[in-house]
Symmetry: C2
Amino acid sequence: MLLSIEPDGPVPIYQQIRDRIVEAIARGRQPAGSALPPIRQLAVDLGVNFHTVNKGYDLLRQEGLLRLGRKSGAVVRRDAGSGPPDPGWTQDWAARLRTLLAEAAAQGMPATDIVAECETAIADFAFPAAAAEA
Amino acid sequence: MLLSIEPDGPVPIYQQIRDRIVEAIARGRQPAGSALPPIRQLAVDLGVNFHTVNKGYDLLRQEGLLRLGRKSGAVVRRDAGSGPPDPGWTQDWAARLRTLLAEAAAQGMPATDIVAECETAIADFAFPAAAAEA
DNA sequence: TATCTGTTCTATATATTATAGAACTAATAA
DNA sequence: TTATTAGTTCTATAATATATAGAACAGATA
């Protein structure tokens, strides 16, 4: 489990930890049932306080992606193969997506490029029965 | 210029102001050259401090989307018809896109649904010579 | 001159972020 | 039992971000 962090970046460290793990889950590198490093160990590896890692893990638990146990540690609960997400969650996510895509359009990015970026990202994910036909 | 804000939401007010304006630009409701409300007036309309609006406008200025003048006020500088964005900017944006899309995949959203949400959002934008063929 | 607009400064209060240390709970291993 | 492991829960501190507030300034316009 490699996990590179930018300590001096604009995005909070606990958020970066959460983001990298979400990406690892989406790409199938952390399938459902797989274990994540213990909070204290990851904190040492990253050179940050264990409370910071704990906050990132807790975020993932609130999102339903992690299951945290006393001795079992942090285990992935959902992945790209799980059932469809909650309708309310999908709405919130779609709103954030619209804002992010609008940003690219406002910056003058062509529609074809925007679509291409989306497809490139999605192609890296590990869907259960992916068909990568062009 | 309608602009609804959630004062008690998790996202900062100045960020919401920035996001709504970005979406208005992308959708062609605020084309390049069009004027935005004065800082103080928008502050009154939204029921927030004018410093909060100023911070949102200043963000957009830093992103190259707005031009702020003494008497000219806030004028849109770039829109969906402008030239392609800066390569460095595109890289950063693509990274944020990958994180957001990974979130949906990790939550179990099917690839087809993710693509559909992207296309739905893009269809609302005002590209110069859009071809909406299916 | 007077007005409108963005800009800049100080100031205050609250919330967020990150670090730090200590103690606790539950499960496992020796 | 005893020790270890790992998450959980408290307090505490410092730095930064957020939002409000007021005042004053600078440039363009009527």
